[in-house]
Each structure stands twice: as structure tokens, then as C-alpha cells.
Amino acid sequence: MIVPLPAFIAVPLTAAFVLPVFGRRGRSAATLLANIVTISLLFMAVSSLNQSRSYEVGRWPIPLGINLVLDGLSGLCLATIAIVACGAMLFSASYMERYTAKCKFYSLFMLMVAGMNGVVLSGDLFNLFVFLEIASIASYALVGFGTGPEELEASFKYMVLGSIGSLFVLFGVALIYGNTGSLNMAYVSRAINESSFTPAVGFALSLFIAGFGLKAALVPFHAWLPDAHPSAPAPISAMLSGVLIKALGVYALARIVFNVFGISVPVAWVLVALAVLSMVAGAFLAIGQWDLKRLMAYSSISQLGYCVLGIGLGGLIIASGGSGRQMTWASLAILGGLFHLANHAVYKSLLFLTSGSIEMATGTRQMSRMGALAERMPLTRAACSIGSASIAGIPPFSGFWSKLVLVIAAVGAGYYWVAAIIVFVSLCTLIMYLKVHRYVFLGEPAGGQEKLDRVVEPRGSMAVAVLMLACLCVLMGLLLLPAVRAVVLDPAAEVLTSGLDYSRRLTGL
């Protein structure tokens, strides 16, 4: 089935424009509509995997008009966004009963999804900025959705840093326009690589790295994430940690660095350094946390480092200009990074959703005030165990496979220290999730037995969402089977390894 590309943006946007009209009485209708939209987005995304085409909006040929580009990488990102959105939306159907203005919540959720889809599909730098802003502004509002003091503080911090990131990107776009006279990524790439690498282009590239690094919360720019992600309602935390930082950060960074500017050795080293810093610092900071969601937020920083590491390492090998054998390792590293990106989206959103169930049942996020929840919440415990096993890289769960691919690629290419860091951070991750299990599910009940008796397992749509993501976590390893890999992961890695072919394909030169 060929899905027209604007549908990925038009469907959630139309839903977002209609949803606020449903008042208090139309809540169940709004819930139904929102779920139908996310599920249909999932079908659309899955049917667009492994396709490659470009769509000219308004029938204007590029570079006059804006084009939407679907290739393996954007297909993978679209599918990931749709899976997590589907789970989070199912979860919020009953979780968000606690809050007022539910219809506006759905509307903001849809706007965020539309913004991310727009970023992933866009083939135009300024258009990418506009959709980046849609997704970011919706997420600022969603972080402050509860309007409590902490939520507002986190939301303000996030908004200030996010706005600076967006302005860096905008300034970079302005510089690029001033130098190349074009905004279309393919034409910009052609113009940059035909002329020599001027300082202005380098400055624009560093502005992009800083801007998208702020959105992706790589370590020197990570200050907002540990506040913002825990403060949001649980389904939104799942969306933010699961896909938002990846679509706005990692995807945009990879696309711009690889396909527009072309990878070079210094840039690849910058990416690897940022990634290693994020992995190590995120893991160390996470171990010390006692707030359940905060711990998970820090671990997101660390896990995001893996994705950037895979991509950066692949870029490093490509840019060093190795032989055919080295190129195999490069594409393997990139494949590992992208595979980890999809895996992390699934298990981190699963973990955040279970943390939402726990918070709803116990009324606290402090691990010291929980304990012995294993008997009362068996499903949540099972789901949390699966998620933790995946994130810590225990076979046969999904995280193991992507880390294994990364380690193999690093060793094969001769970067032994990278492999050592991957294994070490993986051990730290294991420790932090053992801590979660020890204090949340085992041990003594902190609030006394009678408080424990009032804890109930979530039912209905929340349980369905958690089950769905947990099953996916187990099954994600199947993506490495050659037949499946050729459809999902290989085309995505191919887009990045082929680099500047992107522009040649689109401009037809």
C-alpha cells in the first residue's frame, strides 16, 4: 500500500484541531478518536517501511517548493514513533482520568506526534525547524500539564533551554541560506560539497550540533532532561524519553551531519566524545538517584549515548576512509546505533509506563517509600523486569542484541576501548535497575502492611499498553533475522552509510 506522505502529518493535525471541541461530556469519544488515530498511524508507518520516495508539496518542484522524503531511516523513525505513541495513548486513556482538560491533553499529544512525523519526513531545513518547534512547544506544555510547582519549574527550565536550542538551529539555517541560497537539504548538500568547506559552513554545523544536542540532551547540554522527563505525566514521560529526544535530536543530527554536510573525521570525533560522555555521566548520575522516574531519566541520557555512539563510530570509520572490510564494520556500527534507538524507544517507554502505574498505586515516586510491591502488582513487576533486563542487556531481551552488535562492530574495527566502555556502562545500568527492583518490588513495605493492601494493579487499557510493549521488548530481537533485517534496519543504515548519495538521488544529478 502506498500511503501519501502528507497523511502522516495531516491525520494527527486534523485530529488535534478537532479534539479540543469535545468538551467534558465528549471525553470518551475523544479518547476513542485519539486511539483510532494512533493505531491508524501505526498501520500507515508499518506499511511504509523499506520504501523510498519523495513527495513535492503543492506540486512545486524542488527547490521551489518543500518536499517530504521517505527513506529507510525516516521509515524506521516513523514506525518507532507510531509504536510508542500507540502504547502511550492507550495508557493515558485511563491514566489521565486524574487530570482535567483531557481533550486538550489529547490535542497536545497529537500535535507532538505530528511535529515529530514532520521532522522525520521533512526534506527542507526551515520546514524541519518549524516542525521541531511544534513538537517542542507541545512538549513544554505537556511537561507543565499538572501545573504543580515542580512541574512548572521543570517546564520553564525545559522551555528556556529548548528555545535556545531552536534559536541556534534557526541561526544555523539562516547562515546556510546566506551561504548557499537554498533551503532544500539536497540542494544545500550539493552546494556545500561542490565548494570548499568554508568557515561559515563549519560554524553553521557547530550551531546545528549544539542546537540538536540541546534537544537530544547529550551531556554538556543535558540539564533540562532530568527535571522535565520525571515531571510530566507518565505517558508523556514515555513519549519524551522514548521518541522525542530521538526524533528531534538524534535523527535530525544524523540526517544533517551525514546527508547534508557529509561526515568528516573531526565531526565524527565530536559525536563519539559527546556520546561517551553522555553514557558514562548519565549512568553514574542515575545510580545515585532515589526518585524512580528521575533515575530512569538519567538512564535515558546514558542510553541515548549508545545510539549516538553507534552512529558516530560508524561515521568515524567511514570518514577515516577504510577498505571494504572496514566499511562493513561501519555499517554494522550504524545499524547497531539505529537498532538501539528503536529498542530504547520500546523499553524506556515501557519502564516509564510501569513507573506511572507504580506512582498511581502508591502515590509517591520515592523509592525509599515503596517496597514489597511484588505481590500486589505482579503484572507491573513482570513488565518492569522485562524492561530492566532489556535495558541492562541480558539475553535474550532486545537490549542485549543491539549492544552486542555495537560491541562486535567496535571490536571488529579495532576500537577496543569503545567496546570496553559499552560493556562497563551496561554493568552500571544493570546495577541501577537491580536497585529499582530491590527497593520497589522486594524488601519491606515502607508504609506498613495496611498501606500495601490498598495498592491495586492497574487494569483495562493501562494493562493492555504495558503488555503490548513488554511483548515487543521480547520480540525486538527478531529484527536481526536476515529477512526482517533487510526490510527494517538495513535500509535505515544504508541511508547513513551512503551519505551524500541522498542529495544525488533527490536532485537527480
Binding site: 501519501p4 502528507p6 486534523t14 484541531f17 478537532v18 471541541v21 503543492g58 506540486r59
Partner: protein, 154 residues
């Protein structure tokens, strides 16, 4: 907030008409002269802001309640989307200017020309006017509640 003196009220009820006419002009002629849906929409919203300053918030709220403004906001955005989708249905691509290309080329420099551009301007004018009015009204309606935990009271 009951508004200001009779002089201010009388004058602003006249000026309001002028501002609205000017805003509508800016919106309608956006494809021929400087301006367009955004500028015109903001001007429309500011006419209501003037009324709010002169007559007080109550008066404006009675004339254009919050719920209606929010519905107009959604309607404007939805209409713009409809224009885009009509381009898909009749022009062959999302946002294609199907009116100009196939159905209604119009005369150059005339009001009815340029196909969907004036229509988009109107939809955007409606959307921007309603949404900015809405945000100003929301900001001025907001009063700190004293009974919430953590609230400071007035």
C-alpha cells in the same frame, strides 16, 4: 474592572469599527498589498483588546465568550487544513493551488485572483485573531486561587 469613562467608551466603540474594517482589509488584500492573514488577524484581536481596556473584561466576555473563541480558533485551523486537503483532492497534491490552476484564475491585481491564497489568508486571519484574543483573555482572567496547596493567595 468596570471600564473607563463615558468618553473613552464612546470613542473606542467608534474606533473599534475602524480597526475591524482595517483588519478585514488587511486580510482580504493580503495577496496584493503588504499584510496578510497574520497581520490582519492580530489587528482584529487588538480591536477586542481595546474594548477590553475600555469596557472591562466582563463586557467582552459577554460578547465573545471564551468557549466560542476557542471554537473559532479550532475552526480557523481546521479550515486551513481543509484548503490543503482540497488541494490534495482536486489539485493532485497537498496544498496545490487548485483554484488558480484549474478553476478560477481570476484577473491580475483583482480581489478575486490567486486562487486559494485569499482563502488561506481568511482562514489564517480567523485563526490568529481568535487565538490571540483567547490568550489575552485567558491571561487577564487568570487569578491566583487561594485554596490550592502551594498557592499564595491574592
Amino acid at each position: 474592572m468596570n471600564g473607563m469613562t463615558v468618553i473613552v467608551k464612546t470613542i473606542s466603540s467608534w474606533v473599534k469599527v475602524l480597526i475591524i474594517v482595517f483588519g478585514v482589509y488587511i486580510v482580504l488584500f493580503g495577496h496584493l498589498t503588504p499584510g496578510g492573514g497574520f497581520a490582519g488577524g492580530v489587528i482584529l484581536a487588538s480591536s477586542y483588546v481595546l474594548l477590553m481596556l475600555a469596557f472591562g473584561r466582563r463586557f467582552v466576555e459577554d460578547n465573545l465568550p471564551l468557549s466560542l473563541a476557542s471554537k473559532l480558533d479550532c475552526l480557523g485551523a481546521f479550515l486551513f487544513m481543509i484548503i490543503a486537503l482540497l488541494g490534495f483532492a482536486y489539485g493532485g497534491a497537498f496544498f496545490a493551488n487548485f483554484l488558480y490552476r484549474h478553476y478560477l484564475p481570476g484577473d491580475r491585481f483583482a480581489l478575486i485572483s490567486a486562487g486559494t491564497i485569499p482563502l488561506s489568508n481568511m482562514a489564517i486571519g480567523l485563526k490568529v485573531g481568535a487565538s490571540l484574543f483567547l490568550v489575552i483573555l485567558t491571561l487577564s482572567v487568570f487569578r491566583p486561587s487561594s485554596d490550592e496547596p502551594g498557592g499564595r493567595g491574592v
